[in-house]
Amino acid sequence: MRYLPLTDADRREMLGVIGAKSVDDLFRDVPERARRAGLVDLPKRQGELEVERALTKMAAKNVSAGSVPFFVGAGAYRHHVPSTVDHLIQRSEFLTSYTPYQPEITQGTLQYLFEFQTQVAMLTGMDVANASMYDGSTACGEAVLMAHRVTKRKKAVLSGTLHPQYRAVVENISEVGGYAVDALPPAIPGATEDIISRIGDDTSCVVVQGPSFFGELVDLRAIADAAHAKGALLIAVVTEVVSLGLVTPPGEMGADIVVGEGQSIGNGLNFGGPYVGLFATKSKYVRQMPGRLCGETVDAVGERGFVLTLSTREQHIRREKATSNICTNSGLCCLAFTIHLSLLGEDGLKRLARINHANAVKLADALSAVKGVEVLDDSFFNEFTIRLPKSAAGTVDELADKGVIGGLPVSRLIPGNASVENLLIVASTEINTDEDRASYAKALKEVL
């Protein structure tokens, strides 16, 4: 087998050194009745050509986003990732190294993590950020737990702006932890959500997403003030991190913790993962943060270097007293994020964000020109919600048959709610052309 360097001759020789008769001998601690003599019932080894052929065939059964006019967002966005990014993250030294436990020979990883933390802090307008969580939704769950630790309270108030699957993740972790969740109904654009009245003296945190699940921009200032007045923290959620190139960052609006999904920068859609969870907060809360942190220091001869630090928050040191059980995180996705954002820089990110916004405005114009279609969002970044004259799920299905992937029917994530039945969330990033939008409008007209 091509990945296995030992030959039969090697195996014999090594068994001799060990003093074992056979490999079976080495498995003698396995209870007899659990030792399997034969092979499991699966196909046998295959060469590269055969594996490639089979998987390529499977992949071809999917409609890839790049092959059609494509308008789905809702927490994962198709952006153009420069070729430099994918080249660099495949370098052996990045791809095949472990968590940087030996800093002398992992300065490469450590330095990019330090850069990542800085970039995330800058984007969110916060003091510090960690070296990543699994994704936005789990980061959100961790943020709620952290708020409970900081405030020593046990109840989270979740805005209806929050992505329904993020809400589900928070509810799940809260339930097993014995924490309360007060979740508001979906914040369908148009109506204003009164979240402030839900904040009480037992509220540990308020969780608000902006741009909202429905695409709307959300001003956090009043909510932050109200939360702080009650001794609660404001957790801001950002699922489209490119928006931070154009939209006021949560840190400037009083957020105490900002969590986000970083996939949009540097990472592909990948059918949902791996993505990269962003987690930023204020300096004063840093010792309550989950996840790895990389810090600056010097070496024995005074040269600047980087190390993992404040590990006493982490499971490998603190075990059941750790701030989280996270171990493996999203290292390589951070790297992709950091490289892409380095390429963009200040000017590039801002321009990219403006292009996204311009494209979404053009899409809103194109779709609202279709009879029966209404754009609900007053303000938005690159995504918004439209009301259709009929079921959104059915419409998306019909659009797919016409070769247009038209967005997310809200009912897919919020089932059994009549008020969202006809709502469709659509996104337009820099990848969409005028032609794409025209195809969409045309197809939509046809199916309505």
């Binding site: 087998m1 990945y3 296995l4 050194v17 060990i18 080495l26 498995f27 601690d29 399997r36 499991v40 019932d41 699966l42 046998k44 080894r45 089979a54 998987l55 390529t56 059964k61 409609v63 986003a65 420069p82 430099t84 660099l88 370098r91 030294e93 791809l95 030996q102 020979i105 992992t106 490469g108 990883t109 330090f114 850069e115 800085t118 510090v128 070296a131 699994y134 939704s137 932890g177 939209v247 006021t248 592909g268 059918f271 993962g273 942190l293 810090g295 220091t297 024995a300 630090t309 006493t312 075990r319 750790a322 995180n329 996705c333 790297l335 490289i339 390429l343 820089g345 292009i355 299905d397």
Partner: protein, 525 residues
């Protein structure tokens, strides 16, 4: 024994004087220094070309960001060079042996990378219509089938994002099963061996469980009697790693399982070490109820400097109904993803909830699938055998030079302790750092906690005998030097790495966790 025809000539004066040479740039040949990306800022430079959009009516309302973000402007060539230079400061499996115990640092085939980048896998959105992602669902279903066959378990939850997340998932399933029996409130204790990985107790704590430590025997295994004594009606589960973190198979595992079940509790197995037994032993045959599988260990998805991973959890029949959303089903009309409670109900399951947005680590699934198909049932069995053989070869070859706390045979990793360094003045850490100079990544140190100064070596099956022989020779050489009171190799090691030993105390005492344009400290310099 460099393998090269070094002719034994003594070093020339030129080489000896090298240490005294300070370069102007701070570089040393191919060892290149590199500032932070922020320090490369050249406003006006940019690594992308994007056209400013034509004028349009903004829909941002009052929410437009004002002022600078602070991101540096750097051209593409300079960004490329920055990260290439950083990469060259890293060790990697592709460069050499990376024998981190408990981490299974095996070869990462590039076929897997290529497959994960097929547009049909890499460029599909988790929420596009299911009929447009039938191949993706088929892949998940196929991978699930392989995992179930290999473990002998009837179900698998695919969405957990890593091992620790899998632990959380498995324990949540256990909690849900207990809740369904009305025992969630009464069963509040979890038994965890001392030797457990930190994620085990941390996971239990996240569920508000009380962690109760089980002591180990002198043989490095669970003390069966002590364990049984701890069982009781308030025990929710045991979390046991098998093969355990000492690299040993828990001989009494079936008895343990029986006892756990007899006590009305569940058996969570930490499957991080599945590599040792894949294809030879099925956890399902051991009485396990839940076990996560680190695809980034056993199934070779790359570690990527810390992640991403994937931690699918196989589940026993008792726990299967409580598996979280989403999951894939295969019906007449093709594959479908069950995403909501309503759909689950119709499907007859009672998911405990949702671990994560979307469906899990698809990118890792594709890689793991390519890896599994490449090996096949025969190759995977060989994986376990060679992994165990390599570890035992290291153990047998070094047990007289280092000190081994437990008798062999071991499984996939060989555990040593620091008794052999006693009185030498060389610390475990010094010993490890001297290995860096020799061109190796050190083994896992100070874990598991059950032995003093642990040195846990996991070679994996993708190392050749030749590599192991050089490694063994090196460790013998270092052990001899330490015992011979030659500290020159250890004091101040590593001597040849991109950095000397780093001041971790300083880092923790005054944390500098991000770059700042002008910190008072820097300004003062």
């Amino acid at each position: 024994m460099s393998g090269m025809n070094k002719q034994g000539r003594s070093t020339t004066p030129g080489e000896v004087s090298a240490a005294s040479i300070q370069t102007y740039t701070g570089n040393r040949g191919l060892r290149l220094e590199e500032p932070l990306i922020f320090e490369l800022d050249n406003p006006g430079a940019c690594g992308v070309d994007l056209d400013e959009p034509a004028a349009f009516a903004s829909r941002l309302g009052a929410m437009e960001r004002k002022g600078r973000i602070g991101l540096p402007g750097v051209s593409e060539p300079d960004v490329m060079r920055h990260f290439v230079r950083l990469s060259r400061k890293n060790y990697s499996i592709d460069a050499g042996l990376y024998p981190l115990g408990s981490c299974t640092m095996k070869h990462n085939p590039r076929l897997n990378e290529k497959m994960a980048r097929l547009a049909g896998f890499g460029d599909v959105h988790p929420l596009q219509p299911q009929k447009t992602v039938q191949g993706a669902l088929e892949l998940m279903d196929t991978l699930a089938h392989w995992l179930k066959e290999l473990t002998g378990m009837p179900a698998v939850a695919m969405s957990p994002k890593a091992g620790a997340h899998g632990e959380l998932c498995g324990m949540m399933a256990i909690r849900a099963a207990l809740a369904a029996r009305g025992e969630a409130a009464t069963r509040t204790r979890i038994l965890v061996p001392e030797s457990a990985h930190g994620t085990n107790p941390a996971t239990a704590a996240l569920l508000n469980y009380k962690v109760d430590e089980i002591p180990a025997t002198a043989e490095g295994r669970v003390d069966l009697a002590a364990f049984k004594a701890k069982l009781g009606p308030d025990v929710a589960a045991i979390m046991l790693t098998n093969p355990n973190t000492c690299g040993l198979f828990e001989r009494d595992i079936i008895d343990i399982a029986d006892a756990v079940h007899a006590a009305g509790a569940y058996f969570y197995c930490d499957g991080a070490n599945f590599n040792a037994i894949v294809g030879r032993v099925r956890p399902g045959d051991l009485g396990i109820d839940a076990m996560h599988i680190n695809l980034h260990k056993t199934f070779s998805t790359p570690h990527g400097g810390g992640g991403p991973g994937a931690g699918p959890v196989v589940l026993s029949a008792a726990l299967a109904p409580f598996a979280p959303l989403p999951y894939v089903v295969h019906g007449a009309g093709g594959f479908a993803m069950v995403e909501t409670e309503g759909e689950a109900k119709a499907d007859g399951t009672q998911p405990f909830g949702r671990m994560v947005a979307f469906h899990g680590q698809m990118g890792m699934f594709v890689r793991a699938m390519a890896y599994m198909m490449s090996h096949g049932s025969d190759g995977l069995r060989q994986v376990a055998e060679d992994a165990v053989l390599n570890a035992n070869y290291v153990l047998a070859s070094l047990k007289d030079d280092l000190s081994a706390p437990f008798e062999g045979p071991c499984m996939h990793e060989a555990l040593f302790d620091d008794r052999f360094l006693k009185g030498t003045g060389v610390e475990t850490l010094d010993f490890a750092k001297a290995m860096i100079d020799e061109g190796y990544h050190p083994m896992t140190m100070y874990f598991p906690l059950v032995v003093h100064g642990a040195l846990l070596i996991e070679p994996t099956e993708t190392e050749s005998k030749r590599t192991l022989d050089q490694f063994i020779g090196t460790l013998k050489h270092l052990a001899k030097a330490a015992k011979g009171n030659d500290k020159s190799l250890f004091t101040g090691a590593p001597h040849f790495a991109p950095r000397h030993r780093l001041d971790e105390t300083l880092a923790a005492r005054t944390p500098v966790l991000r770059w700042q344009k002008e910190t008072p400290k820097q300004a003062a310099e």
